[in-house]
Symmetry: C2
Subunit: 743 residues, 2 copies
């Protein structure tokens, strides 16, 4: 790549024009200058330095719901569509009501595009997901369709499932209420069997029983599934699921006996295109066959037929959590891709050791404080994607077993999915914002591309099981499993909890003190250390229980127990995930990904090294260790930091290749700073020139919403705009101020 002429004052376009949008480019006659001219060269040079093929990684990891070729086909259609081409740039200029209208418009448009381009259902879902809007169709697919198929009987699946798959009906899933979310057993909505009509009556008896949060419910869904307390002849049978129609299909009018609406804007502007809703039922009648009856059912006359096992309906809860792990990794990878690219081309401060005043400033990514911040996050993103693939496979194995009435895998999958959901969602959320902060001041611009990522990831730490509550469940499981091992040291434990054996069996996890930083790169050292730390924390938890503290008061301690458990599991599955796809990935690609496995493990250890260096107190030593003995020597800790430093230095020249491996298209990222070609300053300036606020004119009403947020590249008025209201606000302000001053 040749360097653009720093003296040139005309600029190449930054993208193609589509519809009313001219191609983006700088239009003022500005000499580019050395700093801006260098960015594309820096990026090309860094990309060329990759000693592996990023597309092999992309093609392997993107082969999920749809394969990579199909994904790119779908994205290409969207990125050339007049409505969607500049979608991500327009959204921050719309208010909630405008975003909601655009979301409905987009749903209709995507189904049209799907028909025109003969997309599969999965391709349609991919297209909807990629808009960063969390539209009602997303929720229809994530929460409504799977519940019908997972909890309905064959007849119900035939009756409703196909219509839902075809979008002939749009549905929502109503579980959470105003007063209860985490404690599902305490939901207040009732569904009472009425013998006379042989049907059910749905009712919301109190303010806090109002259904709350269901996506799509607010203004869209024609149908829904309601979780309610089943009551037959005065006796409560606990929460069950009921299917019902909500709105008239043609007019959208809510049915009688039902009130509903949108619950309001979400924090940080998140989910602007999703109508999370509220609903209240007033003795609302539904037929008896509307209870989802794969497991339990109610017969004519009110006889209740129990499910064959209480555990069978757990599958659904675990399903969503187990799908969240890789999704979380992908979200983090967006932040990482942007941060890697921008900090590479951003230069700030000359190296103080340089004697040549003509030396250019140093790439921000080359500072250890940046590299040490971002590379572990790169490793985490790959870790969650690959561990998440394992999680899905394990879930599918379990679901298969459950179909056959076998619950063997259930406990392990429950614990692992709870642990990883809680850990990965939090790490990803923090990591995304850390990436934004690493960009410096420009990261605060919406166009940096985080406006869609952080807010969208924010609720993941509280929905589908609050992370802190899930951590307690992991803690409880560790106590139970370790207790079983106490009684029977040869009891079977899943690989994800294998470290528990170290509590009572010396050498269950053989560990040799590292003698050099290179020793830390051995899996038998770092994975062992992760296992020993997790085991030590369980021992500490058991000691607190032994000291008389009740489990319910140990919820704080469980947080670290669950974190260390999760880091052990992610390490295990990250490595396994690479081996699963080794052939397709290729040798060099695996080698670099395996370096990320090591980096992930070492930085996970460094996050909390205390349990390994603290000499064991009385009664808190692992088997084979003595009271007063620490697992790790002080020198090993110094070597650990050295190992991390050296590994970061080794990986650094490969990071553009590694972030390319995620395969994000510029259109998907929607980021001026994360451009694949590195032309960040041109992009920032082009958008600042064309920013709609600088090109006044009556802001369009809802009816002409297609005009909202259009960037006017190349307007003659560039840099000279005066807002419509200057004359009514700022002018009079100054005049009045002058009058007051002269009183």
């Amino acid at each position: 790549m040749s360097k653009p002429d720093p003296k040139a004052t005309t600029y190449e376009p930054l993208n193609e024009g589509v519809g009313e949008w001219a191609p983006a480019r700088v239009t003022l006659p500005i000499p580019m200058g050395e700093v801006a001219a260098r960015t594309s060269v820096d990026m090309a040079t860094a990309r060329a330095a990759a000693s592996f093929d990023p597309t092999r990684i992309e093609e392997t990891l993107r082969d999920a719901r749809i394969d990579n070729e199909s994904r790119i086909k779908v994205m290409t259609v969207l990125s050339k569509d007049p409505i969607f081409a500049n979608w991500k740039k327009r959204m921050p200029h719309m208010n909630r009501e405008q975003q909601m209208r655009q979301s409905h418009f987009a749903c209709r448009r995507i189904l049209e595009l799907g028909e025109q381009n003969e997309w599969t259902t999965h391709e349609i879902v991919e297209a909807v997901l990629t808009l960063d809007l969390q539209s009602p169709i997303t929720i229809h697919w994530v929460a409504f369709v799977p519940v019908i198929f997972g909890q309905g009987n064959a007849e119900q699946i035939e009756r409703w499932g196909e219509k839902a798959m075809n979008h002939e009906i749009l549905g929502c899933y109503m579980q959470t209420e105003l007063g209860h979310g985490t404690n599902v057993q305490q939901l207040e909505t009732t569904c009472t069997y009425d013998e006379e009509s042989d049907g059910f009556v749905l009712h919301s008896p109190t303010l806090t029983s109002t259904k709350w949060w269901a996506g799509g419910l607010g203004t869209t869904s024609t149908h829904g599934i309601v979780q309610a307390q089943l009551i037959i002849k005065g006796k409560s049978y606990g929460p069950h699921l009921f299917f019902c129609q909500l709105r008239d299909m043609e007019t959208g009018k809510l049915l009688d006996g039902l009130v509903a609406g949108d619950i309001g804007p979400k924090t940080y502007g998140a989910f602007g295109g999703l109508d999370n809703g509220w609903a209240r039922f007033d003795h609302f009648k539904i037929p008896r066959d509307h209870m989802l009856s794969k497991h339990a059912k109610v017969k004519k006359g009110g006889e209740y037929v129990k499910p064959p096992s209480d555990k069978l309906s757990y599958g659904g809860m675990i399903f969503i959590r187990s799908q969240m792990i890789d999704r979380t990794g992908w979200m983090l990878s967006r932040g990482v891709t942007i941060a890697t690219r921008y900090t590479l081309v951003r230069r700030q401060f000359r190296d103080p050791s340089s004697k040549d005043v003509n030396d250019v400033e140093r790439s921000v990514l080359s500072y250890p404080s940046t590299a040490r911040r971002i590379l572990p996050l790169l490793a985490k993103a790959y870790a969650y994607i690959l561990a998440g693939r394992r999680m899905r496979t394990l879930y599918e194995d379990m679901a298969q077993q459950l179909e056959e009435g076998n619950t063997e895998l259930l406990a392990d999958v429950h614990v692992a999915s709870s642990s990883l959901k809680a850990y990965c969602t939090k790490q990803a959320l923090d990591g995304i914002e850390e990436c934004r902060q690493a960009l410096g001041g420009h990261g605060f611009l919406a166009s940096a591309g985080f406006t869609q990522v952080f807010p969208e990831q924010a609720p993941a730490v509280t929905y589908e099981g609050d992370n802190i509550v899930l951590a307690s469940q992991v803690g409880r499981a560790m106590l139970k499993l370790s207790g079983e091992l106490d009684g029977n040291s040869s009891a079977k434990v899943a690989a994800t909890s294998g470290f528990l054996k170290a509590i009572s069996q010396a050498n269950a996890i053989p560990f040799t003190q590292p003698k050099s930083s290179a020793d830390w790169y051995k899996p038998e050292v770092y994975s062992a250390a992760l296992g020993l730390r997790a085991a030590q924390l369980v021992v500490d938890l058991r000691a607190e229980i032994k000291s008389g503290r009740p489990f319910v008061d140990l919820s704080f301690e469980c947080i670290e127990v669950a974190k260390s458990h999760a880091e052990f599991v992610v390490d295990l599955w990250f490595g396994e995930g690479i081996r699963d796809d080794a052939q397709r990935l290729g040798e060099k690609e695996c080698a670099w990904l395996n370096k990320l496995v090591t980096l992930h493990a070492l930085t996970a250890l460094s996050r909390n090294i205390t349990p390994l260096v603290l000499p064991a107190s009385q009664g808190r030593a692992l088997a084979g260790y003595k009271t007063g003995q620490a697992i790790l020597a002080p020198e090993s800790v110094i070597l650990l930091e050295k190992a991390i430093r050296e590994l970061v230095t080794e990986i650094l020249p490969q990071v553009i290749g590694l972030s390319d491996g995620f395969g994000w298209l510029d259109w998907e990222l929607g980021s001026s700073l994360g451009r694949k070609d590195g032309r960040v300053y041109e992009h920032l300036m082009a958008d600042a020139e064309a920013n709609p606020l600088n090109h006044p004119g009556a802001v369009p009403s809802l009816e002409t919403i297609d005009k909202v947020g259009i960037y006017k590249y190349g307007s003659a008025n560039t840099g000279k705009g005066i807002p419509d209201w200057y004359g009514s606000e700022i002018g009079p302000l100054l005049t009045a101020a002058a009058r007051r001053a002269n009183l």
Copy 2:
């Protein structure tokens, strides 16, 4: 407070109606139910349990820019004004362009209210700040006015200062450029002395020299101060400050030789009412006397007169940082107040030990995983507010000295303000989001009140000195100061760096190993431990330097050095801040605040205990300690956690009183979950009923912006709304889907 009747279906208003807004209340005929009826009682009970007077704390700490009485006077005017009464509820319904117009409107309106109510300038600033908009007037006051007064000579202050104080001109401060922010020395804008006209010529030579970020510049400022490289007769004298007019006062038209505009929306919807701007100068002429000349000046003919000391102009940078500490504490205190109140009244799960099925569920705040999360954040908020008061005083002392040419305090104030700015802004940002997460799912609603807080705090970690860069400066200062002590053990060090003596002088920080959890409550234990940890980290940093690593490669290590330094200083100043105001605060109030000092210190230690428990490696022991010896015994760590637990338990019954002590008014918090009276479920339901999205009608255009985001309490249409566009989008979507399915 008597409990509302759970069976009642009519509701008391939640506030007063103002203008077009009816009073907020639930209007559907819903029985309240036990859960909702209990919240106000729980809140009143918890408030009554305070064993001190929160108003004494409020009145003391709120006595800042204006006293508390004046603050409440101003807020009361705003909360009863038709424009501002529901300001915070309306903002999330406006898009960027609408928010910007509202911001200009608000600026004019507040100056009018100021005139009507005879507000002082400080009261006007307080009114503007409280709108959570970061309006151009805020920046005028924070960045433009202080620079004129701090860097202008007497004649310039007279010429421009008074006009600025009266809002006869509105200004911005242009420092950062597209290509350079952190590295100020490398700014590219030039200001060249022109001998012929005896004036200066401002010029933007390259793309990356475009001025960027200046608040108010985009669409508002009539004037500005530009930082540019001073060039006289071909020689560069480095960055200097220049005053210039930007726009025609009457029309708002940009002057010739200048293009400018708004840089675009910010991340997470932040700063929607601030027009951060860009500007380019094309050989733009300004008079010679427009260079701010308190220190340096240029004489007729081009003779450059150096400032008496290079250090004199540092004051300005330090000024803004030193003002950020308590502001950061106040921002955090908003999150803490909301989290404390909502988690108190939110109940989830019965205590498993209870045998009585009629027992109510447990307050979420009573779970250790919640209390241990929120109480340390409560302590941090008070810590930053009180340490921030000390910081301001110290700054003023230093500024006074600088006026007299005395730079004695400069180094200490520079290091302390850098350290605390970097540490407190990050802790507060993380803490605010932690508070939101502690709310569970409902924290994701904009009405929870975090939409204004987290995004507004987000840029603080990168502006006014990137936190990571500041951490390196702290690290460098610690190396320098400790080096000076090597050479001269009786060298004078400021109290904020006093711990450095422990590196070479045994017993500089006497420390006795705690023998009980209560021992940890002694300042001579916890403050000493904080000092020893900070010293140990400096020793580790020195060891890395000794091993041959250059300082520039130690930027990652400096982060923890700076954190531990900051925690030592916050601890020191938090305690001193309470003592400074002890009489006014009162005895009981001080006693509880001092428990927060302890809690802050203990949790700061617990954050990273490793340096204290790791046996010293060769060459890394503090004076008086041997190689292989740790500072803290393993049992002390267990006692530390016990001490924290017991202290949290002791403080817990006082938290409603302690959060009341911040003195936030419901109107200021703008939070449905943080209501002082605890009526959260009623508030959520009332707003869900009235949410504008549920009451369709053409969305107003910009001209009728006063109609945007009005909540329709008590409308006959409640719960039955159909969006305007259902007929054009969702209806056709379903019809087309049915057609496709039947093909």
